[in-house]
């Protein structure tokens, strides 16, 4: 019987066929590496390669696999809900490789715990932010009753079950990519980026579970997800779970008038900016239009003024006096309810935080204080939280019932994620997501774009709250 040695090498596999040509079936996965005179393969092709070599009758000396089998039991568990059982069965049927699309608040973490138990292999959970990593660690500790390793935010501890940010996973995967038999990719729509995908391609894990509430991508990233995680095996929609698993909700768009002074300033700034882009033929339907604008703004006469005008009109539309007044009216209306305010940028978040004396969480917030703000918000000690984008995803704040989108992008994914933050069900809860839009500004079009999603169909109301 022919023999081959497989070794994990810096996020790839090295295969030594001892000078004999590899079997034809394996060639699709292999490239001969002249630099080391051995065959090389992607680490993520470990499982299919092993299968192909086995089927071709080769004896495999496997020095790559460094993951262990785990015999974990569920602690503090509960009977999975019907949609969780459905998703788990679909993932198992796909041989433990695939992506599950479920709304925020519908128990994705518990599904992952069940999948880890089912795979019975050392597991790595990768999430986009340090808040989510901490939340995962706490959840896994609760359900598995074991110490959880952590990578990211200064922590570098590897255990049988470890959680990591995408950034840390990319950095460390060339060293740890053979240590886990299962990888869970939380918010896996982040994976297809050219850097993040390394977290998946440099790992040998045969079992892979992708979790997301918003799989939509505009760059063809689905093929990457399919290659690195597996196909979409199950999709559950928000409206399927509303009223049972998720709180009933409504969305309200509130038109905000700019003051006469703001409107004048907005119009003047907007004109300087649009005149510049028109004069230089910049078309924002083209992909690199923004880079072009930045470049021309730095080089051409009038460019600096155009850039300043752009920033000015954007700041007025995003967080003008009218919006601050409107936030105040909404807070009075929902006095006592746990409320999250979302902004498009940090400056607006800190401006609101300073105006109202509210805690603000952005990527600049130190880890300890960020945790403290979230804990106090969950416990009810803090009633209002302001954030830019860091709480868009995943972070569990079940008690929040009111969301106010002060400003945002045109991305429907971002908008659905923000809605997801207030949907976790509790007794008698009715969630409301407000969207503040400055009248007569480009925000109207941005708002139209982000609402193009099934989650908003038929539950939209326009409101003209008076200030």
């Amino acid at each position: 019987m022919s023999s081959v040695t497989i070794e994990f090498d810096a996020g790839t596999l090295l295969l030594d066929f001892s000078g004999v040509p590899p079997p034809a079936e394996a060639l699709a996965f292999l490239r001969f590496d002249d630099r080391v005179s051995l065959w090389r393969a992607r680490a993520c092709d470990y499982a299919p390669l092993r299968r192909v070599l086995h089927a071709a009758g080769w004896e495999v000396q496997d020095h790559a696999r460094a993951y262990s089998e785990l015999n974990l039991t569920l602690r503090n568990g509960f009977r999975p809900m019907a949609h969780q059982s459905r998703a788990l069965a679909a993932w198992k049927k796909a041989h433990g490789r695939g992506m599950v699309v479920m709304p925020t608040g519908s128990g994705k973490s518990y599904l992952a715990v069940l999948a880890i138990l089912s795979a019975g292999r050392s597991a790595l959970v990768i999430a986009p932010t340090i808040d989510l990593v901490q939340q995962w660690a706490s959840s896994l500790r609760k359900f598995l009753g074991i110490e959880i390793g952590m990578l990211g935010g200064g922590a570098r501890e590897i255990r049988d079950v470890t959680v990591s940010t995408y950034d840390s996973a990319v950095i460390f995967m060339e060293f740890i990519g053979a240590k886990f038999g299962m990888v869970v990719f939380d918010e896996c729509h982040h994976l297809p980026g050219p850097v993040n995908r390394l977290a998946a391609s440099m790992a040998i894990a045969p079992y892979r579970l992708g979790l997301t509430a918003t799989p939509e991508r505009e760059d063809g990233g689905e093929a990457v997800l399919n290659d690195l995680i597996g196909p979409k095996v199950c999709e559950i929609f928000i409206d399927e779970l509303e009223g049972r698993v998720l709180a009933p909700y409504e969305t309200r768009r509130v038109a905000v008038e700019l003051s006469a002074e703001e409107l004048e300033e907005y119009t003047a700034s907007r004109r300087i900016y649009t005149d510049f882009i028109r004069a230089h033929g910049i078309n924002f339907k083209e992909r690199d239009a923004w880079s072009q604008f930045i470049m021309l703004a730095a080089r051409r006469p009038g460019g600096r003024a155009a850039m300043n005008a752009y920033l000015k009109q954007r700041a007025i539309a995003r967080c003008g006096r009218g919006k601050l007044e409107m936030i105040w009216r909404i807070l009075i209306r929902h006095r006592g309810e746990r409320t999250i305010l979302f902004t498009a940028d940090n400056d607006a978040a800190y401006a609101i935080g300073n105006h109202f004396c509210f805690p603000v969480i952005t990527h600049k917030t130190k880890v300890g204080e960020r945790r403290e703000f979230l804990d106090r918000f969950r416990s009810g000690e803090y009633r209002v939280l302001v954030t830019s984008k860091v709480l868009n995803e995943g972070v569990d704040v079940p008690e929040a019932s009111v969301g106010i989108v002060v400003s945002g992008s045109g991305s429907s994914r971002e908008h659905v994620q923000r809605l997801g933050r207030i949907l976790r069900a509790s007794e008698g809860k009715q969630a409301v997501l407000y969207e503040l839009v400055s009248e007569g500004t480009s925000e109207i079009g941005v708002s139209e774009r982000r609402r193009k999603h099934r989650a908003y169909a038929g539950r939209h109301s326009e409101e003209g709250l008076s200030c």
């Binding site: 090498d9 996020g11 000396q61 391609s201 730095a298 105040w328 105006h355």
Partner: protein, 410 residues
């Protein structure tokens, strides 16, 4: 490094021409001097104030991108630290507890300005430092604690190096031709290659001999480059460049994927790029330091040096870089140490040693490697020179074992 929007280059027929600056340009020297002086004068000042002071000067420069690039370069080398004069987090805790309590009782008539006044009044005097800005300890307000020792001329010189490094961030691989007669520099070059976990495919070389090759052509990239390309190793390649710039003769070419375009960049030593902004020192592992100390005490008849020549061991990727040279009169013995992270080269080295028994080379192999690879363990332990020229070690090489091996050479 410079961010993408600060890169300055022209493209001519798909070839990138970096816009280098003249380090002797009087106008630029004056600007660099202003940046350096401002930072030196503003030690202890918040970052935002320094930027505010510099902004008019930066904006008055004809080439704004260059001005911002030079400023960023210098700012990145400075050390900032937060204001520790008061406990900002504790003050915020007091303030937010108060605002959360009061928000439950707000009325229709109250304005948010009134509310803010009421919150500060309710939270007490201890939170007064927050009245201007609740988040005054953010990075933007951090204070300058340390400035680099760098002259304006050096800052301009460094800009050129960093400009090339910042372009190479978008490269997939580097094609190099190097010529160097100084063995120490060449060794440093190859050690850097190893340090950044890059691989070299040597396509041709001339006049090789034990010691120093005169010219080498090679392609440098990372392990996974042949599988999926991309600029995955861009940062490693960029970080590696200073080791190239300190050689006597060099040229390199690379393909860049930048702003959605496929571009080419090639440069050689006539560009005047050098690296003299800090030590390009060679990392000496702790176990080697410890071994050297003990060895000097216990085996004084041999002298030990980490300044070893390198040996060519085969047609590809095959350079022997001994970690230590032992000298006793005219006799020189070389020791190469293997750890788990570069154990892949061991089989090749075992074969090399068998083929060149006349070469005074000794191999030290970390014991841990054997436990995870039984095949390799068997190959090592059955090697004819195991015990006499090949030995195992746990944390650092055993001094007594080394003494015995050296005695056989003497």
């Amino acid at each position: 490094m410079l961010t993408k929007e600060l890169l300055r280059f022209h493209t001519v027929s798909g070839r990138v021409k970096p816009q280098f600056i003249d380090p002797a340009d009087r106008g630029l020297l004056a600007f660099a001097a202003a940046v350096v002086r401002t930072y030196q004068d503003f030690q202890g000042t918040p970052r935002s104030e320094i930027l505010e002071t510099l902004e008019p000067r930066i904006n008055s420069q004809r080439d704004l991108k260059l001005a911002r690039g030079l400023w960023k370069l210098y700012d990145d080398m400075c050390v900032f630290s937060g204001d520790t004069s008061c406990d900002w987090a504790a003050m915020r805790r007091t303030l937010f507890s108060c605002s959360s309590r009061l928000i439950l009782s707000i009325s229709e008539e109250e304005t948010f300005s009134d509310f803010r006044t009421r919150v500060f009044a309710g939270a007490g005097e201890t939170v007064l430092p927050l009245s201007d800005n609740i988040y005054a300890d953010l990075p933007d307000y951090e204070r300058l604690a340390e400035v680099p020792k760098m002259t304006p001329a050096l800052l301009l010189e460094k800009y050129n190096v960093v400009l090339v490094q910042s372009l190479v961030l978008y490269a997939e691989s580097l094609e190099l031709t190097i010529e160097e007669h100084d063995g120490a520099r060449m060794r440093r070059f190859f050690k850097y290659l190893k340090f950044f976990r890059l691989l070299a495919e040597v396509s041709s070389s001339s006049k090789w001999e034990e010691g120093t090759p005169s010219a080498v052509r090679m392609k440098i990239d990372g392990p996974a480059s042949i599988l999926d390309g991309g600029a995955k190793y861009g940062l490693q390649l960029a970080s590696f460049l200073p080791a190239l710039f300190q050689l006597s003769r060099w040229k390199f070419a690379c393909a860049l994927k930048l702003n959605g375009k496929e571009l080419k960049l090639s440069l050689d030593d006539s560009s005047g790029l050098t690296y003299r902004f800090g030590r390009l020192g060679i990392y000496i592992p702790e176990e080697v330091r410890m071994f050297a100390r003990l060895f000097a005490e216990r085996v004084p008849e041999w002298t030990l040096s980490s300044d070893s020549p390198f040996l060519k061991a085969g047609p590809r990727q095959s350079f022997v870089f001994p970690d230590i040279t032992f000298t006793h009169g005219e006799k020189k013995v070389y020791l190469e140490l293997f750890h788990k992270w570069h154990s892949r080269q061991i089989p090749e080295r075992l074969a090399f040693l068998e083929k060149h028994p006349d070469l005074s080379l000794v191999l030290g192999i970390e014991r841990r490697i054997l436990s995870s690879n039984p095949t390799l363990a068997e190959r090592i332990e059955s090697h004819p020179l195991f015990g006499s020229r090949i030995f195992l070690f746990r944390d650092f090489p055993p001094v007594e074992k080394m003494r015995k091996i050296l005695e056989a050479f003497a």
